[in-house]
Assembly symmetry: C2
Homo-oligomer: 191 residues x 2
Amino acid sequence: MQLLLDNISKQVHLTAEALEIFPTYWKKDKLKKGQYLLQSGQICRYDTFVLKGSLKASITNQSTHKEEIVFFALEDWWATDLNSFHQQTPSFLNIQALEDTEVVKISNSGFERLLEQIPAMERYFRLILQSHTAALTRRVYHRNALSARERYESFLSQYPHLNARIPQYLIASYLGMSAEMLSKIRSDFRS
Amino acid sequence: MQLLLDNISKQVHLTAEALEIFPTYWKKDKLKKGQYLLQSGQICRYDTFVLKGSLKASITNQSTHKEEIVFFALEDWWATDLNSFHQQTPSFLNIQALEDTEVVKISNSGFERLLEQIPAMERYFRLILQSHTAALTRRVYHRNALSARERYESFLSQYPHLNARIPQYLIASYLGMSAEMLSKIRSDFRS
C-alpha cells in the first residue's frame, strides 16, 4: 500500500484524514505466475495497482489466433482495462501475471466513493491519465513513423527495466513486429 | 462557448456560480484554412477546444521528411499537445487548420486556476482523458493486430464523419498505410 501512497504523494497532497480512510477502500491480492487478473469477456471489476511482480495485457487476434500484447504492467503502475472498469462492460483484454505478483485493488463503486471522500484523487487520476495519454500518443506515432529497429531503440531507452524482465517474444508483439525480426535486430546490435 | 459547456454538462454539473466565472478563463480565436495553431518546437501555450472546423496534428518524420498524422480534431473535441501544454516544454507536433476553424482556448496558468475555482472540472478532464485513453489503446492494438483493410473498416464504422471531411491521403497516414494502399482498399469496396 505504501508504494501506492508514495506514487500518489508525488502528484497530490493527501490530508491526515484522507490518509486514514484511504486504505479502507483497497483490497490486497496475490497472483501466481500465469494466473489471470482478468479474462476477455469478463467485466473488469477492479482498478488494480501493482505492488510487486509484472503482468501482460493482451488480445487474441480473431483472424490469426495470435496473442497481441497491448501493454505491460510492473510494480508502481496500473493494470486495468479502464474502459471495461469505468463502463462496467465486458473486457476484450486478458491480463495475466508474468511472475508471482502482488496488487492492491479497488472496486468500481469503491472508486466512486473514494473520489467523493477524497477529491484530491480526482486530480491524481487526471494527472496520471495525462502522462498515460502522452505515452500512448507517442506509441501511435512511433508505430506509424519509425522502423522496427528505431522502435526497439526507443523502447530500450524509455523502458530499460522492461527489456530485462519481459520475454523477448512478448516485447516483439508489443512493438508490432515478429519475434524473428526482433531477434535479428538484437543480433545486429551485438555484432 | 456553448458547445464546450454542453460537452462539459454531459459529464459533470456546474453550479450557477461556476457557469458565471467559467467563460472568463477562455479566449475565442479563429484560424484560416492552412493556419497553424501550433508548430513543432513551440511550447503549447493553450488547451484548445474546437467550436467549428477541423485541424490535423502531425509530426514530420526525420528520416523520410514525410508528414505523419497523429490525430484529427473536429468541432466538439480538443486540439492540444497535452504533454507540451502541461509540462510547458517544446512540442513535436504541428497542429494546422484543415478548414476555417473557430476555437476557444485557455492558458496553462488559467487552466490551473480554473481547476482551483471549479473543482468539478478536475472530474470532467479525468473523464474525457479516460475515454481518450481507451480510444488510443484500441488504436495501438488495431495497428499491431489488424490488416490495413480491417483498420479502414474500423475507422469507417467509428468515425464516419471524419471519412467524409478529411482528405484520403491524411486518413491513410493516420491509419499507418500508404495513400496507394488506401486507394486500393477503397476501390475494392466499391467493386
